[in-house]
C-alpha cells in the first residue's frame, strides 16, 4: 500500500428515495468521490444484515445503507425495520472491530441529491483516514490463530477427546 489508500465502499440504496437521489445528483452533475459502488434494492428493508457482513468479509472498507426518511417509506414502514435491524448489527460489528463510521445508515429522500454527495464524500474521507479494514486478511489471521489453538489443544489433550474438539 505505497500509493494513497483508496477505500472501497459498498452502498445499498433503496429504489424510491436514495437511489433516485443518487440519480438526481447525477442529473445535477454534482461531483463526489468515486469510491462508493451502489447496489440497488427495492427497499432498505430488503437489506439482510448478512449483506453488510458479506460486503465486509469480501473486502469492503465501508458499507453505506440509504433509505427513505422515517415516515416516507414507499412501503409504509420498511425503513423502521431497517433501523431496528441495523442498530443490532452495529453492536455486532463493533464486537468484530468494525466501527467509527465504517458502517453508516442514512435517510436520503429522492430530492436530496446534495445529501448523497455530502454523505459519500464525508464517508469516503472518514474511511480513508481509518485506513484499510481488510477483514479477509484478518479472517485468515483469526483462522490461523484458531488452528494454532486447535493444534495446541490436540497436543496436550488425550486423543479420544480431541475428536470432539470442534
Amino acid at each position: 500500500m505505497t500509493e494513497k489508500f483508496e477505500p472501497r465502499i459498498v452502498a445499498f440504496f433503496c429504489n424510491w428515495c436514495t437511489y433516485t437521489a443518487a440519480d438526481l445528483a447525477g442529473v445535477s452533475r454534482l461531483k463526489y468521490a468515486p469510491n462508493v459502488s451502489v447496489i440497488r434494492v427495492m427497499c432498505s428493508g430488503r437489506v439482510d444484515p448478512q449483506f453488510v457482513l458479506d460486503a465486509f468479509a469480501r473486502g469492503a472498507d465501508g458499507v453505506l445503507l440509504g433509505g427513505c426518511h422515517p415516515g416516507d417509506c414507499h412501503y409504509a414502514e420498511g425503513n423502521y425495520k431497517t433501523l431496528r435491524r441495523m442498530r443490532m448489527l452495529e453492536r455486532m460489528l463493533k464486537a468484530m472491530g468494525i466501527h467509527d463510521g465504517r458502517f453508516r445508515l442514512e435517510w436520503i429522500s429522492g430530492a436530496e441529491g446534495e445529501k448523497v454527495r455530502t454523505v459519500i464524500n464525508e464517508m469516503t474521507e472518514k474511511v480513508r483516514a481509518l485506513g484499510p479494514l481488510d477483514l479477509p486478511g484478518k479472517t485468515l489471521e483469526w483462522d490461523k490463530e484458531l488452528k494454532e489453538l486447535e493444534a495446541h489443544v490436540n497436543q496436550s489433550a488425550p486423543k479420544e477427546e480431541a475428536v470432539h474438539a470442534r
Binding site: 459498498v10 440519480d23 447525477g26 447496489i39 434494492v41 430488503r46 439482510d48 458479506d54 469480501r58 425495520k81
Partner: protein, 666 residues
C-alpha cells in the same frame, strides 16, 4: 484463454453492452477499455460498445446478437435503470430472451456525471459491470403479472387544473369524482378579474367550465371534502373521502340566497375569506355568486345556532326547500378508482414574512391577491381601486419577487408574478388615475404574447424601476412624503438610491407549495422536491407522472405555472390516465416475494413484518404463504426469514450476494 473458455462452458452466455451516450459517458469513462475488460470475464460471449445503446440500431444490435451468439443473459451499462431498464428488457424480448435475464448498470448518473477522475470512473464502471455480470447469471425467467384497471378516476383539487382534467376525462366517457377542499370549485383562478396577456375576464372563461363540471353526467362533484386515505396500487386504488358538514343539504339547496338576507345578523360582519378578508360575510354565506355548486353553507365558528344552539334560525325558516340541517355530521365515503390526478395547486407566499415591506403593519400595503379582488367587479369594492380608508390612491408601487428569487425565503422564480404585476399595473391604471410604479429585478415575460404585453404597458405610461425595494416606510423626510408610504429602492439603471412616495403598495407574492403538501404527498405515496412541490417522475419526459404509477400531477402543485401551462398539463395528466385506463390492464413488476414451502420452518417471523398483510399462516401445513396480489415487492420479509426460505424475485439472495462479490472482486 482456453482454460477460461473451458470454465465458461457451464456458465450462461452473457452479452455485455456499454453505451457512450454521446460523450455523456464516454467523455469520462473509457468505454473501450471497460468493454475489453468485460470480454475477459468468465461467461461473457459478446462485449461491445456503441454510441447510443438505447437507439433503434443499438437495440437491434442486442436483439441480433442474442440470436446469433445464443446469448442467455444480457447486461447493459448505460444510464439509470429508472430511465431505460424497460427499453432494454424489450430489446431482450425482441431477441427471444426472457426480459428478466437482464441487468442494467448505471454508469451515467452514478459514475460519469458525478466523477471527474477518468481513471477512477473507468475503474468504478468495471467494478459495477463485473458485479452485474456475476449477478445476471443467477437471474430467473419471470413473467409480468397482469391486473385489470378500474376505469374510474379521482381528481383532487377543483382549480382550473382539476376542472380541466375532470372534464377531459369525463368527455372521454370515464366516471370522475372531483374532490375539492373548499366549498366551491374554481381555485385561485376564480379570484382573478382579468387574465394576462389577453385580458379576457377570468370569470367569463372559468365559470362555464365550472358549470360544465356540475352538470356533467360523468362527474361526481364533492366539494368541501378531503381525501383521508388512499390504499391499493395502480389501477386499483381505494380512496376514503371525508365530506365536511355544510349544515345545508346540498341536494335541496337551490342557491336562492334568501337565507343570507334572513340571517339574524343584519350586517355582514365577519371577514370574508374568499375576498382575502377585504369584505365581510355572514355566518351563512356563499363564496361568490357563481360558486359551484351554488349551495350556501354555515360557518360553525360564527353561527349562533351552531355555537350555542340558541338562535331563532330565521335562515332555516325562510328556506322553503327545508335544506338546513343543523345536526349534519362529517361523513366518510369510499370510492374505487384506477387512476388519480392530483391538482392541489399552490399557496401564495405570506407577505408578512418580509417585514421590510410592512404588510400587516401599514394598511396601505396589499398583496397581489387582495388587489385581484379589489379590481374585480364582483369584489368587495365592486372594482373600485380604493384604500382601506376609502380614499383613492394617487400613486401605487408594485414590488415584484416578494418571496421569489430571494435566498432568505424562496430561491425559485414564481414565473407568473412579472406578468400578473404588469396586468395589475394595467388594471389599476384603468380603474384609477394613479401613477403606477413597477419595481422589478429582471422582467421575465416568456410566453405567447407576453413580451408584447410588456411593450404595451411601457407605452401606457407605467413606470418601471429596476431594483429590489429595500423597504417601505412611513417615515417622511420631505413634506411631499408626509402621510404616505415611501418606497426606498436602488434604481440600478439610473445608478442612485431613490425614495418614491406612494399611497398603495402591492406585493407581488410568489407561489409556494400548499401548506399541507407534505401530508398530501405521504397520503398518496408520491414525492416532493426540495422546494416542497410534488415531484414529477422525470423533469422533461414524464412531467405529469409520479413515482407511483397511476398517480398523476397537474398544475401549480408541481411547480409555479400560469393558466395556459396549467391547462396544458391538466390535459396531459388526463391523457396519461386515459392511456392507463384504456389499456384495460397494467403489468406489475414481478419483484414479489414467495415462500419455498419445503424450507419454511413456520416460525412466523415474517408475518407481522409485512406492511400489506400479504403473508398468512397456513395452519394445516404450518407454513407461511404470501399472497402475490397483495405483495408489493419490498423484500422486508426476505431479509428477515431466518431460514432464507423467502425469495424476492429480481432481488434473490444469491443475486445480491454475487453482486457484492462481483463489485469487490479484484
Amino acid at each position: 484463454m482456453s482454460d477460461n473458455k473451458n470454465k465458461q462452458a457451464d456458465l450462461p452466455r452473457v452479452g455485455f453492452y456499454i453505451c457512450h451516450c454521446g460523450s455523456n459517458i464516454a467523455g469520462t469513462i473509457d468505454v473501450v477499455e471497460v468493454s475489453k475488460y468485460v470480454s475477459g470475464l468468465p461467461g461473457v460471449a459478446v462485449s461491445r460498445e456503441y454510441k447510443y445503446m438505447c437507439s433503434d440500431p443499438g437495440q437491434e444490435m442486442i436483439a441480433q446478437d442474442i440470436k446469433d451468439h445464443k446469448l442467455e443473459r444480457l447486461v447493459v451499462a448505460a444510464c439509470s435503470p429508472n430511465l431505460h431498464e424497460e427499453t432494454f428488457r424489450k430489446a431482450a424480448a425482441k431477441g427471444g430472451l426472457n426480459p428478466f435475464f437482464f441487468q442494467m448498470v448505471n454508469i451515467r448518473e452514478h459514475a460519469s456525471w458525478v466523477h471527474t477522475d477518468k481513471g477512477a470512473a473507468t475503474q468504478k464502471a468495471m467494478d459495477l459491470a463485473r458485479a452485474a455480470v456475476a449477478r445476471v447469471r443467477h437471474h430467473q425467467s419471470l413473467e409480468k403479472k397482469r391486473v385489470p384497471v378500474d376505469p374510474n378516476v379521482l381528481v383532487v383539487g377543483g382549480g382550473i387544473a382539476g376542472i380541466h382534467a375532470a372534464l377531459t376525462l369525463a368527455n372521454a366517457g370515464k366516471k370522475v369524482t372531483l374532490v375539492e377542499r373548499e366549498a366551491t370549485i374554481g381555485g385561485h383562478m376564480a379570484l382573478f378579474d382579468k387574465t394576462f396577456p389577453t385580458l379576457d375576464c377570468a370569470a367569463c372563461i372559468l365559470t362555464p367550465k365550472m358549470s360544465a363540471v356540475k352538470s356533467h353526467p360523468n362527474i361526481k362533484l364533492w366539494t368541501y371534502s378531503e381525501v383521508e386515505k388512499v390504499e391499493g396500487y395502480v389501477g386499483n386504488y381505494k380512496v376514503k373521502v371525508k365530506r365536511k358538514p355544510r349544515y345545508v343539504n346540498e341536494d335541496l339547496c337551490v342557491g336562492c340566497m334568501e337565507c343570507i338576507d334572513a340571517c339574524v345578523f343584519k350586517e355582514a360582519k365577519f371577514p370574508d375569506k374568499f375576498n382575502q378578508g377585504l369584505g365581510k360575510r355572514k355566518p351563512v354565506y356563499i363564496d361568490f355568486p357563481q360558486a359551484t355548486p351554488k349551495v350556501v353553507l354555515l360557518d360553525p365558528q360564527t353561527c349562533i345556532q351552531l355555537k350555542t344552539g340558541k338562535c331563532k334560525k330565521s335562515c332555516a325558516e325562510v328556506c322553503d326547500r327545508k335544506a338546513f340541517d343543523f345536526e349534519q355530521k362529517e361523513k366518510f365515503e369510499e370510492i374505487q378508482v384506477g387512476a388519480i390526478v392530483l391538482a392541489t395547486g399552490f399557496k401564495a407566499y405570506d407577505a408578512k414574512r418580509d417585514h421590510q415591506y410592512g404588510y400587516g403593519r401599514y394598511p396601505g400595503v396589499y398583496t397581489a391577491l387582495e388587489i385581484e379582488r379589489l379590481v374585480n367587479a364582483s369584489g368587495p369594492t365592486s372594482g373600485e381601486v380604493v384604500l382601506r380608508d376609502g380614499k383613492k390612491p394617487k400613486a401605487v408601487g408594485i414590488v415584484h419577487c416578494v418571496g421569489s428569487r430571494d435566498a432568505k425565503s424562496n430561491k425559485w422564480c414564481s414565473r407568473v408574478c412579472c406578468m400578473y404585476s404588469l396586468k395589475l399595473a394595467h388594471l389599476i391604471k384603468e380603474h384609477s388615475d394613479a401613477e403606477v410604479y413597477n419595481f422589478y429585478i429582471d422582467m421575465r415575460t416568456p410566453g405567447k404574447g407576453y413580451e408584447e404585453f410588456y411593450d404595451k404597458l411601457l407605452s401606457e405610461g407605467v413606470h418601471f424601476i429596476r431594483g429590489r425595494v429595500s423597504d417601505v416606510t412611513d417615515w417622511a423626510v420631505t413634506p411631499e412624503e408626509e402621510g404616505r408610504l415611501v418606497m426606498r429602492v436602488e434604481d440600478t439603471l439610473a445608478g442612485f438610491v431613490r425614495r418614491i412616495p406612494v399611497d398603495m403598495v402591492v406585493l407581488s407574492t410568489g407561489l409556494e407549495p400548499q401548506h399541507d403538501a407534505q401530508e398530501v404527498r405521504r397520503r398518496f405515496n408520491i414525492g416532493c422536491g426540495s422546494e416542497g412541490f410534488f415531484q414529477e417522475r422525470h423533469p422533461k419526459l414524464a412531467p405529469v407522472n409520479t413515482f407511483t404509477d397511476g398517480i398523476y400531477i397537474a398544475g401549480a402543485c408541481q411547480a409555479p405555472r400560469d393558466i395556459p401551462d396549467t391547462v396544458a398539463q391538466a390535459g396531459a395528466a388526463a391523457a396519461e390516465a386515459l392511456a392507463l385506463i384504456d389499456a384495460g390492464f397494467v403489468e406489475l413488476e414481478p419483484n414479489t416475494s414467495h415462500v419455498i414451502e419445503d424450507e419454511c420452518s413456520g416460525c412466523k417471523s415474517c408475518i407481522p413484518l409485512c406492511p400489506y398483510s400479504a403473508i398468512s399462516f397456513e395452519e394445516n401445513k404450518k407454513k407461511a404463504i404470501i399472497n402475490e396480489v397483495l405483495c408489493k415487492g419490498c423484500g422486508v420479509c426476505a431479509a428477515a426469514c431466518p431460514s432464507g426460505s423467502i425469495r424476492q424475485n429480481l432481488f434473490e439472495d444469491d443475486e445480491i450476494f454475487s453482486e457484492i462479490e462481483g463489485v469487490l472482486a479484484k
